[in-house]
């Protein structure tokens, strides 16, 4: 199969040297994100995230199904991430690569396990009917830091999504089409975001030879190919950590991880505000007809 191309020795040496001296190819600071942009589609629940040259599109869909027998009071919520050859020829159709597995597992733990979406609210008739919310993640262009961007896309899409309104008269359930009734947003509890730190070994600082790990934020694909290990921290703007993952790789000081988590909080706050603002803009833009007046409140949350 076509394999991801190895960067040349010159590139490896140069980038490491540059990073140790605090420089990056694109002139960013070590902890600086690339240009971030978020667009919503005309339809509900479509979020298009652009982070530098990385571009990710998330689409949410809902349909009525039968809940799992072991959890009759919960709706169904799935996130599917299938990397297509579009992102890179190294990704083959329906043959999950390691990147893909780790990505989907991280989103799983960050968004699903942290109950960002209240699945109980998706239940229509206990044990018989419930909503199945499905997020499809499409990586259009892969230039590093898939995890952070994907997480942002998923969260934004879910918060933007509206599911058809339903009503119960007696014991008959009716699902209103968009034409009949304005769709309603999902009941959203909190917005977790991923921040990935990429480590590039350590340098000794000061005369006492105290070693200090050097790390980058929002790495490009090239930088990712050269990092020695990475650590992804997911939390919401209240500082509640949903998950921390350091999938192996070279060891780093425990202290560093703790420091990272505190820095992650700032970044998460920025991202969180960014998404809120974008959602607000979008709802204002839709609100022109004044139809969705009552919905705009939800976006502010």
């Amino acid at each position: 199969m076509p394999r991801e191309a190895e960067p040349s020795q010159n590139e490896k040496d140069f980038i490491l040297k540059a990073v140790r001296e605090g420089h990056r190819l694109d002139g960013r600071a070590l902890d600086q994100f690339r240009q971030l942009d978020l667009k919503f589609g005309e339809q509900y629940g479509v979020a298009d995230v652009t982070l530098g040259k990385t571009r990710i599109l998330a689409k949410v869909t809902a349909e009525v199904t039968v809940p799992y027998t072991d959890r009759p009071f919960d709706g169904i919520f799935t996130i599917t991430t299938e990397l297509s050859p579009m992102a890179s020829p190294a990704f083959e159709v329906n043959r999950p690569t390691e990147t893909e597995v780790l990505l989907s597992r991280l989103l799983e733990k960050t968004v699903r396990r942290s109950n960002a979406l209240d699945t109980e609210s998706l239940c229509l008739v206990a044990g018989q009917k419930c909503w199945s919310i499905r997020v499809d993640l499409h990586v259009l262009s892969h230039d590093g830091n898939l995890i952070d961007a994907s997480c942002l896309a998923v969260v934004a899409a879910l918060r933007h999504f509206r599911k058809p309104d339903t009503g119960m008269e007696g014991d008959t359930l009716t699902v209103y089409t968009p034409a009949e009734r304005e769709p309603v947003p999902l009941s959203w509890l909190h917005s977790p975001f991923c921040i990935t730190f990429s480590f590039f070994g350590s340098i000794s600082v000061g005369e006492d030879g105290e070693e200090k790990d050097i790390w980058l934020l929002d790495t490009t694909l090239l930088e990712e190919q050269l990092r020695v290990s990475s650590c992804t921290i997911s939390m919401n703007k209240h500082g509640e950590i949903c998950q921390v993952a350091k999938p192996g790789g070279a060891p780093v000081e425990a202290v560093t991880v703790v420091q990272c988590s505190s820095l992650a909080l700032q970044k998460v706050k920025d991202l969180s505000d960014f998404v809120d603002q974008k959602l607000a803009e979008d709802s204002k833009h839709r609100n022109k007809g004044g139809l969705l007046a009552e919905l705009s409140a939800d976006n502010a949350r």
């Binding site: 780790l102 350091k246 999938p247 060891p251 425990a254 991880v257």
Partner: protein, 266 residues
């Protein structure tokens, strides 16, 4: 049935009667499978792992399709290939797991890249592979931690050079964010019941040092306890290896080694 941890802070004892910072009963043995290049059996409480190591060798690298691999010493060393098998009888409810269970694959990847960081593979050359197959015989919490520990033990048995034991341990916390009771003690080495109820983390450290190699967690803050636990585990594993070594020396299988002490430095 849900576990009620509210009593923990009062009774200072856990479901299985441990204190907050007590490890479970551990048993370990080297060379349980003579035909393998290295093997180990490890129990932490009721979590029981058998680890078999084949290689490093150059044969059937293709057959490790289901395994996750990671190159050591920057691609210049041998490749580490890890595959986990969970026996259907390992859990209370007999369930079969598919080959492509993402949870398993994630653990495989984590273990592989974690070990790759401590194994000194450059002496073997990039063409050789170390196959590590982990068999979960019984499962009662701290699975990832036990797998990592068993693997390290088996690697030592196989005589693969490592910078140190890669040891792992879990820690949980009874303090809920809502209650905001920071006084609550973290818990060491969780079992399944506790794992299901509490936020916990798995911390793998490089033996004596406090360097974090791999961890998959829900909540941060119990790292210190986990790091402590890791030391405990390391001492235990070290003990197992030493006993085995002494035995071999007694039997005369290997010559007694000299001891470098400050004395004989002339």
């Amino acid at each position: 049935m849900p576990l009620d941890t509210s009593t923990y802070n009062l009774a200072l004892l856990r479901v299985d009667g441990r204190r907050w910072n007590e490890l479970r009963q551990q048993k370990g043995q080297l060379g349980v499978q003579p035909s393998a290049d290295g093997s180990a059996y490890l129990e932490m409480g009721n979590t029981k792992i058998q680890c078999i190591i084949t290689g490093p060798n150059e044969r059937d690298t293709k057959s490790t399709s289901s395994a996750s691999t990671a190159p050591t010493s920057g691609g210049l060393g041998a490749t580490v290939a890890v595959s986990i098998m969970i026996a259907p009888f390992a859990t209370v409810d007999r369930k079969r797991r598919g080959r492509n269970d993402k949870r398993l694959q994630e653990m495989q990847t984590t273990i592989a890249s974690g070990l790759a960081a401590t194994v000194q593979g450059q002496s073997y050359g990039p063409r050789s592979t170390i196959h590590i197959s982990l068999n979960v015989l019984s499962q009662d919490g701290s699975l990832l931690a036990c797998l990592i520990n068993a693997a390290s033990l088996a690697l030592v048995d196989a005589g693969v050079p490592m910078t140190d034991y890669l040891v792992a341990c879990t820690a949980g916390s009874t303090s809920s964010y809502a209650a905001a009771d920071e006084e609550a003690d973290p818990l060491l080495d969780l079992n399944t019941q506790e794992e299901q109820e509490l936020p916990f983390l798995t911390l793998a450290t490089l033996g004596a040092t406090d360097k974090v190699v791999a961890m998959l967690t829900r909540l941060e803050g119990m790292m210190a306890t986990a790091a402590d636990g890791c030391k405990g585990v390391r001492d235990f594993l070290d003990g197992v290896v030493r006993d085995k070594g002494e035995l071999m020396v007694q039997e005369g299988a290997i010559g007694r080694g000299e001891v470098v002490s400050s004395m004989d430095l002339d």
